[in-house]
Subunit: 458 residues, 2 copies
């Protein structure tokens, strides 16, 4: 009976779908967007810069499913857990969409008993946040994560993460940036001296992280933390640091900024120690950092909420142990590049510069000037494809030459290979350079080589 | 109050998570898997072959969100709709995970009023099916789609889709394959003559599509269709085709296999017209096709269910119109490469061949033979990174040279750059070729160039 009911409901849904098909709103879900070919071209540039950097640092790559068992995510994100997307219970396991790439990474390490890896992972994550899409904040967004897991000498991998942020932001030429650095152990020391109970450390961290938002939104519930932070003097902070933390200096050596971070090309850039940096996530246990852009493209727009944060990360030595059946720890440190914000900036820049971005790589259009040459065009393009040449043909039986040339102008195709009855008889193809309108007859057997030479893509 | 309750529930969930953290099953959700670095290396090879082909044919690329409004997917997949993953109603819009890339593509076209595009899209899709993961069937799996949308002369874009399947399967060297081709209009003609009411056409198609499964599984409920199909003689079929379809031959010209598909290199390959091919999806309206591998890697394993289907597609002229407020149609034809099956085959092949796959591209390890040279190693590697050299360093203050050399052997790093006190004094670096154990002193300012030359990666 249940099966029959389901079938009827399904039919009803289908009928409903048909009846209402012209009524529903034609849109993507709230906080999400499509990428057009032009946006994809910009996105691939950014990805290339980031992946090149990750590979330069010897990272492997992994991938994990878009959803995890709900319990895998439970208890990892503190009060932000309310932003997790759950899947409907359709029988079977309870699932949630991944909230970041760090928890799936820790689950992966524990599950496969890996104690030593340097990996990157680029994928979409999901947060039921209130999106501000014009500022590059979405509910579905990419994270580009680089993490180093393993028991190593202090601060060497941590410093490499900072170096990576520095390299990527420099490569992308986003203007001046500042990398703020702090340490959860310092914050914990401060909280302890202030009399905050241990159990509240993470909540307070999360609140400190939202200070900017509090200032902007004047949310009553968080004001206590805000004034707590305001009243905290540097003297108090430093005392606490000394008492609670630096006594273990040998164990937790502060080599936050090793010499190699300061070599060349750091004009206009700075790494600064910032006691107000807290980071929202629960799982950090040591160094934390965040990169912000200093010069915004839209300086005239008031943007009080986390202006220009484009990367963040830190050390999380306890997370893998939460998954391991015996609680074995694997120390980890990592960085996440938040590229939606970077996309937005580069998109605006392309928009402003009127730079013409090609969305295909086609080298040659196979065209004809006369009618009834469809089969000859298809035969030629097939030869070109088989030789690895990027080629297109208009899907018309008898296209006009003018339309074919116009198509090249519109899409940036640099060459046209024209077949005609005379050319077929002579065993040649007329090769036209779109930009200069030069035409030259090329022997058919030399055509592939000639196209390669002209487009310089062997 | 609701907010407080939510907060308490959240706290309870967290406590539960902490208590039970060593009890829960450490796994990925049913029907999903992680990709290890080695699997990713194979996956990237396959993607490269596919993307290269799509670009060779002049396709642009787009991306869409992983979930759509539930109503966007409603009424598009017939009885398979029950396999759609719904998200939990957490307030706001009702959402579902995408089931394929075709419906989101149609939604994208209608939403942006695009009437003419050739695009590819590579992304994961989701089906609550019963997975058979050993055979490369998952609940989360990649599709690689290539589609041509627009009003064109008959069969030219359709034939290009077949050409693409042919090129990709040839490139990947998966062995002999067969591309089966049919046309929904022929099937509809047959159903009409058999007295099947119009409203049942799609259901019957779906049943015909499952014939193989029926044969294997002997599912009682589908047996009617099975015998229906068996009893259908070729004569009846051809009569129906003539009567219902070929009278419009000029409009719907059958150029299923244009000459260019038959040029060179088709030994062991065939494109065959197959009346039993139906395809499961509701939205096809013309040509349909499916590629199957003929020689399985595991010939000894009995695999009666859809053996080796690795690509499929067809024409769907009505789908975009279902989204357009005015019902305007955009004719489309496309192909989807199902690469999970291909991954499985290539993984098995790599396994069997004991081919050593590198999972990083690191060119050089920066090492030292003496103690207290951490800062010098970091300084040198920083120079190399800034020059674009892919380099690694062990995260130890004083690693042993033997361990550093062993690391290169294990990971396939071809070169070691060794700094020592004497080398620092002399302004040189000792460059060691791991394979030959040859060592040569290189002046520090020539090191980058020397590494580039030796690894042949400018």
């Amino acid at each position: 009976i249940a099966k029959e009911v389901a079938k009827l409901l399904e039919m009803k849904a289908q009928l409903g779908g048909d009846e209402g098909k012209h009524k529903f709103v034609l849109k993507t879900p709230k906080g999400t967007r499509d990428y057009s070919p032009k946006q994809m071209a910009i996105r691939e540039r950014v990805f290339n810069a980031i992946i090149t950097c990750f590979k330069r640092h010897g990272a492997e790559v992994i991938d994990t499913p878009v959803f995890e068992l709900k319990e895998t995510l439970t208890g990892k994100y503190g009060e932000d857990s309310k932003l997790i997307y759950d899947l409907k219970d359709q029988g079977g396991e309870l699932l949630s969409l991944r909230y970041d790439l760090t928890v799936p990474f820790a689950r992966y390490l524990a599950m496969n008993k890996i104690t030593n890896i340097k990996r990157y992972h680029i994928a979409k994550v999901y947060r039921r946040d209130n999106p501000a899409m014009t500022r590059g904040r979405y509910r579905e967004f990419y994270q580009c994560d680089f993490d180093i897991a393993g028991q190593f000498d202090p601060m060497i991998p941590d410093a490499e993460c900072l170096k990576i942020v520095h390299e990527i932001l420099s490569d992308l030429q986003l203007g001046d940036f500042l990398i703020k650095v702090n340490d959860r152990r310092i914050l914990d020391g401060m909280f302890a001296v202030c009399g905050v109970p241990d159990s509240k450390f993470r909540t307070i961290c999360s609140s400190v992280d939202k200070l900017d938002k509090v200032r902007a939104g004047a949310l009553g519930c968080n004001c206590r933390c805000w004034s707590f932070s305001e009243s905290l003097s540097l003297w108090a902070a430093l005392t606490m640091v000394r008492e609670n933390w630096l006594e273990n200096a040998d164990k937790h050596r502060v080599v936050l900024v090793p010499p190699f971070l300061w070599r060349g090309g750091t004009q206009g850039t700075a790494i600064s120690f910032d006691l107000s940096l807290a980071r929202g996530l629960d799982y950090y246990t040591g160094v934390i950092f965040e990169a912000v852009l200093l010069q915004q493209e839209n300086d005239h727009v008031e943007e009080p909420v986390s202006v220009g944060s484009v990367a963040g990360g830190g050390r999380y030595d306890g997370l893998v142990g939460m998954f391991d059946p015996k609680g074995r720890k694997v120390p980890c440190v990592g960085v996440s590049i938040g590229i939606e914000r970077i996309f937005s900036i580069l998109e605006q820049r392309v928009e402003a510069s009127e730079e013409k971005i090609r969305t295909t790589e086609t080298q040659v259009l196979v065209a004809s000037a006369q009618k009834k040459l469809l089969e000859e065009r298809l035969k030629l393009i097939s030869e070109l494809w088989d030789a690895g040449i990027k080629a297109e043909v208009l899907y018309k039986k008898n296209p006009k030459l003018l339309n074919q040339l116009q198509y090249c102008e519109d899409t940036g195709i640099p060459l046209v290979a024209i077949v005609g009855e005379q050319e077929l008889k002579d065993g040649v193809v007329k090769l036209r350079v779109v930009a200069t309108r030069e035409e030259v007859n090329v022997r058919r057997e030399s055509l592939v080589e000639e196209i390669r030479m002209q487009t310089n893509r062997p």
